[in-house]
């Protein structure tokens, strides 16, 4: 479980997050949805501690991050896997080195064990035969998958993904969504995914938080989102002709 309590964040006097209170549940894919610029990335990074928050706090299960010292924070970070929007793979490392990297830092495995573990994770995201390629040499979808492999290599309890299928074609988007859904349940992770992709919402949205202009506007799941009577949410979901037509049929 990851819980935000009374989060506020502003940049140079401009408020980006206002009083965010939300609980993300374990063994579920929790979605944060909203328009571009609504504050999804800032919220995600505030939860992880990459962006300093002005007010409020974050709980990782029973741990209040405000009460942790540096050592404890560092330990907490080994339990967090993050998939950044562009993948954020290290350009100077090959695919396998990228995935192995957290093991180099935080495990006492032998080189052979590390490679085995990295291979296992790459295999889990259906990537074979790309071990020795560099990030510049693989496709966008592959990059996201390598990023997922790197994020899960230390068996994290918490997985954060910032728009994991942005920039991907519909087929690859669904592959990535399903992958995130599967590993969340397989490893009982608390998974939090930023997205503005409607397919993801209806496919994997086991718990959904909608934010607009840095405010939490609505909370629910894929089964009740279509019936929600929040105007901003409806404008957001049914902005395309396709989804408008689908709604008429519902």
């Amino acid at each position: 479980m990851v819980k935000a309590k009374g989060l506020y964040k502003s940049f140079d006097g401009r408020t980006v997050l206002t009083d965010i209170n939300v609980t993300f549940e374990t063994s579920k894919v929790n979605l944060i949805i909203g328009q571009s610029g609504s504050g999804k990335t800032v919220l995600l990074k505030s939860l992880i501690g990459l962006v300093g928050i002005d007010e409020g706090t974050v709980f990782f299960d029973d741990k209040n991050i405000k009460n942790l010292d540096n050592k404890q924070l560092k330990d907490l970070h080994t339990e967090i896997g993050v998939v950044f929007q562009g993948g954020a793979l290290f350009d100077s490392f090959s695919v396998i080195e990228n995935v192995k990297f957290p093991l180099n830092l935080f495990s006492n495995m032998t080189e052979k064990e590390k490679i085995e573990r990295a291979r296992f994770c790459l295999n889990r995201v259906n990537l074979d035969d790309v071990d020795n390629l560099y990030p510049a040499e693989i496709s966008g979808g592959m990059k996201k998958r390598v990023a997922i492999a790197r994020a899960i290599v230390l068996n994290p309890k918490y997985l954060f993904c910032d728009e994991p299928n942005s920039g991907l074609d519909p087929v690859n988007s669904i592959v990535i969504d399903n992958l995130i859904h599967e590993i969340t349940h397989e490893y009982n992770m608390t998974t939090i995914v930023n997205t503005h992709d409607m397919n993801s919402v209806f496919e994997i949205g086991e718990n959904i938080v909608f934010i607009a202009d840095g405010n939490k506007e609505w909370e629910g799941n894929k089964d009740n989102i279509a019936q929600a009577d929040n105007k901003k949410l409806n404008d957001f979901i049914f902005s395309s002709q396709l989804y408008k037509k689908i709604r008429e049929k519902l």
Binding site: L50, H77, T78, F84, G86, F90, D91, L105
Partner: protein, 245 residues
Amino acid sequence: MKFLILVGNYVIFIKKVFSKQEKNRIFFKNIGSELEKLGFNSIPLVLIISFFIGAVLTLQTAYNMASPLLPRYLIGYLTRETLLLEFSSTIVSVILAGKIGSNVASEIGTMKITEQIEALEAMGVNSISYLVAPKIISAMLINPILYIFSVFIGIIGGLLTGILSGVVNFEDFIQGLHFSFNSYYVVYSIIKSFVFAFIFTSIPAFYGYNVQGGALEVGKASTRAVVDSSIAILIANLILTQILL
């Protein structure tokens, strides 16, 4: 005022560079790869430039010594002094500020805008010390060596050109090399090259780390890094010369 804030932020940045390191093994591995990337890859450039500057110094000195009363060994002497005191430490470092500085700023700036730095932070890595300390330390290790190479190759360039063009003979040139040799000058220059290496890696790293935006900003940061580290080297040269000589 803006300048003071910039300097203040730079000092905070440097403190973070030398705060707690990650595992020693990883740190030394990173130093190894930086030595190769920043140091060994700069050797050809330094050698070529030094050879030609040594050659030109010799010819210029010879052509400007019209009076037959001036001893020919002065040609070797002046070539040596110029290389030893200023060219191989200061000017070579300014050149390296262009080569290494732009490389460091754009590498770190690109990592910043593509969230690679945040990826490190998310893993609990102190990204500043992880990325920047190995670069600074490698450059400080390699720059004094490049200095020595540069002096030697410059002198060889001068000697060969001097003899081949007939402006000076071997014995005179060698006599000039020995003439009034002060070994403290070498110490002074090596101290300078340490300091300059610190400057031309840390300032670009600082600018790279503070990039916000996209590729355009990385380019701007890289240009600024080269200009400002070159200026900083020249100012440091003035200060060190006052203190040390």
